[in-house]
């Protein structure tokens, strides 16, 4: 949806009138009004909400260093997902993964950059988990291992190659080596979302894990959207939908209306995959205590929780801004739900992955300290590829050529950026844990963190740097009030 000159002019005209009336013109809001007046449609937005308070920067990891002269490379940074009910597990070498970003919402060169970067990391001994997002997987993701190609008929394989050819040609990437492309050395989790965008059952069967997406932080209670301008012929073919028409997923799985339906769905997928691969349930952070309790009872191996600022390729502006709670705020009710559950159940391998506003080692460490086992990073990888954060992913004007537009993304350079980003973040994480005297990243604890403001202390249950906490702060406020009342002649 390009910003027509007319819309911009109309906005300025409105702003002038508002100013002349003696009010402050909110330009962002007036732009949305001008858009609505122009087309009568709900305005979209992308990436994460402009949350005024995400708490991360109010938290300090006590005495930890991201940069150290000492070598902490023996600190264990691995994460295992699965094994609670699944026969197989996913073992990754970093506690962070690539959050779901689908082909369609980001363009092919960006998908291929991530594919190559993760392969290169795997060759260097760092296995990183990739999530496909809700728009289906690309051929080399589904058929990237030899085992997955074993039972393919010649005609099927030819049709896959043909489609791959078309994809590469359309993006002027013919020089890419097909054998190299059809090698996937990293684990892949596929999303099972309310819009069932895949045509090939191998999508589920060849995956290393399945994530049932109930909601995402950017648009909780709202289905996925891919604006029509981004549904090219090839994206449409890959998803099995009509080209140039917006792809709207239902706001809910039409067969999951409550907890017992989720149980049925998890068991259905377990039967389908012979109880082998891990099953994850993803929700946005909202009524998170209740939702976590339900996930814990649902035979899932892992929960993914996505905070308010979790990104998206497109969401209605108001839904993105106004629905869902912040990542840090969700962690306390999540801990409560998990603790309450395990009061009456034996400990098992349930894992928690948290997304939303997390993009560097410190924030990963803070999230893990507050109870997560791992985190997902989305926007961070876009930045590594050159994203400028103009938040126009829902349109076709991406200046970096990641989500839209005809700008060409340099695949090699982007892959290198992602490679370095992950490598350096892993070292930083090990430095943090090592400088705290820990052998494992997961051993970073709440006692390692302190806060500098009252609200963050209330929400996270963390103490201030001087050892006081929100209770003692409020107590002294109470004492001050009592004194003030006494001064006024009230005897208390």
């Amino acid at each position: 949806m390009p910003l027509h000159k007319d819309i911009m002019n109309f906005r300025w005209d409105m702003a002038k009138v508002v100013k002349n009336e003696g009010h402050v013109a909110d330009l962002k809001s007036l732009l949305l009004d001008a858009q609505k007046a122009s087309d009568g449609l709900v305005p979209y937005a992308s990436l994460g909400a402009h949350s005024q308070n995400d708490y991360f920067s109010n938290m300090v990891i006590n005495n930890a260093k991201i940069n150290s002269t000492q070598d902490y490379s023996d600190v264990d940074s691995s994460l295992i997902i699965g094994g609670r009910y699944s026969k197989k597990i996913i073992k990754t070498d970093v506690p962070f993964s690539v959050a779901g970003m689908s082909y369609g919402s980001i363009k092919l060169p960006a998908k291929i950059s991530m594919h190559f970067a993760l392969n290169k990391l795997a060759k260097n001994g760092i296995k990183v988990l990739m999530n496909t997002g809700e728009g289906g997987a690309l051929p080399w993701e589904v058929y990237g291992t030899e085992k997955s190609r074993e039972k393919l008929s010649k005609t099927h394989w030819d049709s896959i190659l043909q489609f791959t050819d078309k994809l590469l040609k359309a993006n002027h990437l013919e020089e890419i080596d097909i054998d190299e492309l059809f090698t996937r050395e990293y684990p892949l989790v596929v999303q099972y979302a309310s819009g069932r965008f895949w045509k090939d059952p191998a999508y589920l069967l060849n995956a290393d894990g399945i994530e049932i997406k109930i909601g995402q932080g950017a648009k909780i209670g709202h289905g996925g959207i891919l604006p029509g301008s981004k549904v090219t012929e090839l994206v449409a073919e890959n998803r099995g939908i009509l080209a140039h028409k917006p792809a709207h997923s239902p706001s809910r799985h039409l067969d999951i209306l409550g907890p017992e339906d989720l149980v049925a769905k998890v068991l259905e997928l377990r039967e389908l995959t012979n109880w082998e691969i891990p099953i994850i349930v993803k929700v946005g952070a909202s009524r998170i205590y209740d939702d976590m309790e339900i996930i814990l009872k649902s035979y899932a191996d892992c929960a993914t929780v996505d905070g308010l600022v979790g990104g998206t390729g497109a969401a209605p502006y108001e839904v993105r801004e106004d629905i869902g709670i912040n990542t840090i705020a969700s962690l306390r009710p999540i801990r409560d739900a998990i603790n309450d559950y395990y009061e009456t159940h034996d400990k098992d391998g349930f894992k928690l992955v948290v997304n939303g506003g997390i993009w560097d080692s410190e924030r990963i460490a803070k999230t893990i300290a507050l109870g997560a086992n791992g985190v997902g990073i989305g926007t961070g990888f876009l930045l590594a590829m050159g994203c400028t954060l103009i938040q126009e992913c829902h349109t076709d004007i991406c200046p970096a050529g990641i989500t839209g537009s005809h700008e060409k993304l340099d695949v090699e350079k982007s892959a290198e950026g992602i490679f370095n980003y992950i490598k350096a973040t892993k070292i930083e994480l090990q430095n943090i844990a090592g400088s705290l005297g820990r052998k494992k990243i997961e051993d970073i604890e709440m006692t390692d963190i302190s806060v500098n403001d009252l609200l963050t202390s209330i929400i996270s249950e963390l103490p201030f740097f001087d050892g006081t906490n929100h209770i003692s702060k409020i107590r002294s406020k109470i004492d001050n009030s009592i004194n003030a009342l006494n001064l006024q002649g009230e005897k208390i």
């Binding site: 002019n9 109309f10 005209d13 009138v17 508002v18 009336e21 949305l32 009004d33 858009q35 609505k36 122009s38 087309d39 009568g40 449609l41 402009h50 005024q52 308070n53 991360f56 920067s57 300090v60 109930i214 909780i220 209670g221 706001s251 809910r252 999951i256 929700v283 946005g284 009524r287 939702d291 996930i295 839904v319 801004e321 106004d322 629905i323 869902g324 709670i325 912040n326 969700s330 962690l331 009710p333 993009w359 560097d360 410190e362 924030r363 930045l383 590594a384 950026g417 370095n420 980003y421 490598k423 350096a424 609200l455 209330i458 929400i459 109470i478 009030s481 003030a484 009342l485 208390i492």
Partner: protein
């Protein structure tokens, strides 16, 4: 993320990407410094610190493509005099409109009615004859009753109450009273007199001394309390709360509805009408009407989409329990629970006070407790 923090984050990630080595400096430390610098500034717009809880597993969301989400409402407490709105919006605001702007607005409102998207209009003007939408006429001391569908009176002390009694004898449609900042003292009286709705203009009221430093949410919260107080022990016969002022986008409207607004007084349509006239490039009555129409239809979609995502098939079912805040100030002013702890700041202080006086063996009675809590609350404003 905030706008000014984006650059910091981007720079930091690019450093990692270019070097593949740990950074020199913690980025959260840099952001914290930026925030501490801006902390002395007034906490921005509190609307931005309020979020709704979306529906997922513990309750499924509705889907506006599949289920019809109800927006319609009625104004009026007696059965045969109710006015129906398909969208709970009354166009209302301070903009001075020329005749052509008014014509464009009239055309747009009629088209909206044809589209089953009726909204109402509050205006000082005499109602148009060929209107299809409800017109609420603002009656001041000089204006004459000109056969409107409803009446709006501005509260001006006891004489307003006398006026209401007088008007009731010749007019049986809904009467809405626009109140000033002292509404909590007399809302009960007005409702006792049979007034059908209370209109609060948050822009005006927050400028008053009584609401100095407070936000629109405090006004809406207090106005809803005043109306609820009237209904204590009786069955609610539907006196409505009309909220105008700082509620000029769908997000704010949804939050206002959660805090207790039944109908929104909305001025953006007037702004569009006004701009349509003032801009040489755009002025055309029909184009302006189309813009007003489009804008309202888009707003309607937003107003159905958000409640559906929260799990409601009716806009009017939004309640305070569906909202959380990430600001202590917003929690104090709107009595909204803090995110993650699901208690209001007041609840938290009450709990700590209770424990504090037990351990310290201080004897205070209920009244004194409230005084202490109120003083702590004031400190956060």
């Amino acid at each position: 993320m905030r706008l000014n923090e984006k650059a910091v984050i981007r720079k930091s990630i690019l450093e990692l990407c270019n070097t593949g080595l740990p950074r020199k400096e913690s980025t959260d430390d840099v952001i914290r410094t930026i925030r501490e610098k801006s902390r002395s500034e007034k906490e921005g717009n509190l609307w931005e610190y309020i979020v709704a809880l979306g529906a997922q597993l513990s309750r499924p969301p509705f889907d506006p493509y599949r289920e019809k989400i109800k927006l319609a409402t009625k104004i009026g407490r007696k059965g045969d005099q109710k006015i129906s709105l398909k969208i709970p919006i009354l166009i209302y605001g301070e903009f001075d409109l020329s005749q052509s702007s008014k014509d464009a607005l009239n055309l747009a409102l009629n088209n909206l009615d044809d589209n089953r998207s009726t909204v109402g209009l509050i205006s000082r003007d005499e109602p148009c004859d060929e209107r299809k939408y409800p017109h609420f006429q603002i009656l001041d001391d000089v204006s004459k009753l000109a056969d409107p569908d409803g009446i709006v009176l501005e509260y001006a002390g006891v004489k307003t109450e006398e006026k209401i009694e007088k008007i009731r004898k010749e007019f049986d449609g809904p009467i809405i009273v626009e109140v000033d900042e002292y509404f909590s003292y007399y809302t009960g009286n007005l409702l006792e007199l049979g007034v059908d709705g209370i209109l609060v203009n948050t822009d005006n009221i927050t400028k008053s001394e009584k609401y100095d430093g407070k936000h629109a949410i405090a006004v809406i919260h207090d106005a809803r309390l005043a109306i609820n107080e009237f209904y204590r022990g009786k069955e609610n016969d539907g006196a409505c709360l009309v909220v105008a002022g700082d509620v000029n986008n769908a997000g704010k409207m949804v939050k206002a509805a959660g805090l207790g607004a039944d109908v929104i007084g909305y001025d953006t349509s007037l702004l569009i009408a006004r701009v349509g006239h003032h801009s040489e490039n755009f002025f055309d009555e029909e184009i302006t009407a189309q813009k007003i129409f489009n804008h309202m239809i888009a707003t309607k979609s937003e107003l159905t989409g958000i409640p559906a995502a929260i799990g409601y098939s009716d806009f009017h079912n939004l309640s305070p329990s569906d909202f959380r805040t990430s600001s202590i100030k917003a929690s104090v002013q709107g009595n909204i629970p803090l995110e993650g702890v699901d208690k209001t700041y007041r609840n938290i202080v009450e709990e700590i006070l209770e424990e504090h006086i037990n351990t310290k063996n201080i004897s205070v009675n209920q009244q004194e407790k409230q005084k202490i809590i109120n003083l702590v609350m004031e400190g956060e404003n």
